[in-house]
Symmetry: D2
Subunit: 312 residues, 4 copies
Amino acid sequence: MELTAAQRQELSEAQAARTETRRPTVPALEAMLFEPLPVLDHGFVRVVDYMGDDAAVVQAARVSYGRGTRAANEDRGLIRYLMRHWHSTPFEMCEIKFHVKLPIFVARQWIRHRTANVNEYSARYSIMDREFYLPAPAQLAAQSASNRQGRGDVLEGQEAAEVLELLRQDAMRNYDHYQAMLNLDEAGNTLDPARQGLARELARMNLTLNAYTQWYWKTDLHNLLHFLRLRADAHAQYEIRVYAEAMLAVLDAWVPAVAEAFRDYRLGAVTLSAQMLGVVKRLLAGEPVTQEQSGLSKREWRELMEQLGRAA
Amino acid sequence: MELTAAQRQELSEAQAARTETRRPTVPALEAMLFEPLPVLDHGFVRVVDYMGDDAAVVQAARVSYGRGTRAANEDRGLIRYLMRHWHSTPFEMCEIKFHVKLPIFVARQWIRHRTANVNEYSARYSIMDREFYLPAPAQLAAQSASNRQGRGDVLEGQEAAEVLELLRQDAMRNYDHYQAMLNLDEAGNTLDPARQGLARELARMNLTLNAYTQWYWKTDLHNLLHFLRLRADAHAQYEIRVYAEAMLAVLDAWVPAVAEAFRDYRLGAVTLSAQMLGVVKRLLAGEPVTQEQSGLSKREWRELMEQLGRAA
Amino acid sequence: MELTAAQRQELSEAQAARTETRRPTVPALEAMLFEPLPVLDHGFVRVVDYMGDDAAVVQAARVSYGRGTRAANEDRGLIRYLMRHWHSTPFEMCEIKFHVKLPIFVARQWIRHRTANVNEYSARYSIMDREFYLPAPAQLAAQSASNRQGRGDVLEGQEAAEVLELLRQDAMRNYDHYQAMLNLDEAGNTLDPARQGLARELARMNLTLNAYTQWYWKTDLHNLLHFLRLRADAHAQYEIRVYAEAMLAVLDAWVPAVAEAFRDYRLGAVTLSAQMLGVVKRLLAGEPVTQEQSGLSKREWRELMEQLGRAA
Amino acid sequence: MELTAAQRQELSEAQAARTETRRPTVPALEAMLFEPLPVLDHGFVRVVDYMGDDAAVVQAARVSYGRGTRAANEDRGLIRYLMRHWHSTPFEMCEIKFHVKLPIFVARQWIRHRTANVNEYSARYSIMDREFYLPAPAQLAAQSASNRQGRGDVLEGQEAAEVLELLRQDAMRNYDHYQAMLNLDEAGNTLDPARQGLARELARMNLTLNAYTQWYWKTDLHNLLHFLRLRADAHAQYEIRVYAEAMLAVLDAWVPAVAEAFRDYRLGAVTLSAQMLGVVKRLLAGEPVTQEQSGLSKREWRELMEQLGRAA
């Protein structure tokens, strides 16, 4: 993630600006404002704007006229109650706007969360940057043998080297040809005055799915939590999970009481099906239970034993 | 719209607070912040928080790193272009949060706009205020003879007086009985210790649809404009239109360039159907056209002539 | 719930119609089609149309070209897997449309589910029916002493009788005055030719919140399940829960495999917070745990013990 | 667009099936059901299921109990009225489900319409097909000189040949390497038993943006019309416009009265801004108006003159 001098300058000016406001502000988040948090090899997440704080959740839940004078402790209790009982509307009263740089194949997973507002960099209108994601060696994983949509061991030796080289060469060559079709040189100048250059909206189709794009992404806190619950989860693909983790750090700075409740009642929580709950009750009653008698499939049994920290 | 001393105190504290922020601020909107704008006899709209400004629309449209250094004039031109060509995502990058007090029958129209975030005062949990909407004499309109869902002339004399008296008495009596069923007196104290009082979630059903409720309502700028286009329109019911008009004043203060484009390309604009456009072309060519030859229904013809400022 | 002769006739004609289709059909749901299922004293839910079945969920999940030839058992397993792992998009591929008659205060809770399509009977345009909800004696509950938004014991004796009488009289009187303001008699004819009658959009405000309204409500299966999870829950207000229960019966007929998975993984499931899970593990390890040592609030402890079927 | 024998078989079985239903059916759409309509070189759109018809729009608008007995002509008039006055909820009462095969860069534009339900073929779970979009010669357009996001003349001669060859070679090579990294041969068998093969969720990133993907896409009629208004428009990129045009043909078969109203009041309609309307009025009054006096920008003036069929 290297910004141009002009981009750095724009950033510094935004960071240097100070104005007075009557709105709630969060100093810990103000300190992070605008600064890109690096993710993957060329990506980033940065907070561009925000609305509300922990107290705004409480204020909306109470439909009150002002910020209230209750103890912070009382507010924390209400936030935990709202989270535990799946209330959603008070959390919708906070909003955050991110600027994100991310590989296109990650963007395609991300966009499935339909409740956010998105404004993406247009490759019909502008030229794409020469930047693409190449996995670090530790992320160059084999296909999982047991899980059709998961990763297995890390590739090693010759195979790893060859895979990485293919990814690099193909992305580079395709970008070279993208520029050639546009009839542009590296500096963005016309290459051959006798040519017209292919339309940008067509040339872009030659890029690979690991090319980086960027967008403004704005969401309310409730939907952000939903996104984080799915994407900070161990089953999410690594390349989107690291974005979710960067955003979790933002969450901690922005709304610490909500973040705490979210970790307790969502991220660290487990849901037991009716059958699983039955097994737990029998175990608590001292009854020996095996998978065969449990009514659970083998896979569910294994999941339950893991959650309970018992040998399957 | 009378606030209690405690509510006034909460408001004053919020208005007196000042903090420093790096976020974009809009002084003209800061000046209005938190203050209720009176609507109808007991209602109000007040801005509780906001995110973004005119420049934020432009910044998102350009997916840029900072606030930019372009001339304000260039930004205005881009905003007009985006509005004219029905771009929506850049306008979604601003957000505003209102606290609204409104009659329940108005709330029921309002809530059909599903894209906003809403947190309503809970009559399951709390006691409703003794406040209900009674139309001013100038709004006490007869059913329109020509439009099944519109208003005709204002009622007068005996009929007006009787209608108003019925509305007042029924609302008052039903509220009295609401309190009686809750086993509460005016001050909110238990009336008869031998009684239990009906559950709040049931007692509320005795209230009339002109009782006032309140909510926090938060929306992005694109959806706010959509709401205003429908509800500030002459065909909207008066009782919701006055809320839309109060919010239009907020819009002017908040995002003046967007507000200007909105008035030109939406509020003041007309849409001509294929057939209507054909009529305009024939008229411009000097051809005489009558409704019968126009391909338009009588109603459409009348609408078109009105829009063109011609006698039908 | 009494239909007019004309409505009965309309229903019978729709039920008698038969056409041939290539689309998936569900005989058990076809048998229920159009017929109102009574809810409360004058309300109903009836299925007006539907799209898809259990197999359509599977077909979408596999993005396949036809209906497939896999064993029903394999489909059931996939549906359970999708439900367990919170997949949502395959369930969005089925759709159902209801016609519902319901009290306005129930409609106001219901409408908060924003993802559905709704078309409500317009009281600006039409005259409302003289029908309002009056609780059966067993539902005339006192305010709960322990839960601010819940019900306690059933009211009895004098208090019950008086409450019921107030509800009945107020609803009746307000409807009488609604008609009088409209200048209409019971049969819908003009009462006094010298009067104009108040506009319908204004007169409706005199009705009470237990007046019945009706709407077409259409939703995809994923959002229907979300609605049912919240509204068929024991914490939901009785008056909306009975609608959810009627719709659960529809679900069983329509998509039996989805309904079964929904009951196992949602309705009958429990979510344990990180702290609750810790307590369960300690209990399973034979460690004695008290509320004080548990890290749980008293309320959470009580909830957990109930879920585990243990004395608190 | 070539289906495998197995896919053809699946299709034929679905098309051969017939069941009886009480639901409204549309024979003209039944005739098209399941059959892929070819789009671009390997893509298609096919209708997989539908709910409702013209009469269902009317039935919902009237919140009626049955299909009604009014004249078709009366229904058509109501549909035109609803369309002209921007009513949306009655059109939401019809639903349609498509299976679409489309290039990834088209899918990325399409997905911005957030109100639909989407289930996409998963490249984490499955192997992508060896199919990519290559423009026909007539679509190989140069960048527009006047419009930053549009197309100019068609490329010719040497430049066209080279561009096409680059697109073809890069897509083919990248797919070859995709398979190699997966350690699979053309038939999908393991290539080298000593290797593990890269995880599918990683290997996919080597594909180009013109690779074909497919999804189930389901939407209500109102949102379909919104999609068609934007994507069947002359400003939409050709590669998505051809999908919109195929869906317009479906619309004509499915809901002919809605389709007619849509063409008159949306597709063939123009919106005049307040200033443009002012110009038209002056022209109608016989006043000569130039761009300079008009209050319109040069671009707007040109657009208006085009719409009015006058020389700019």
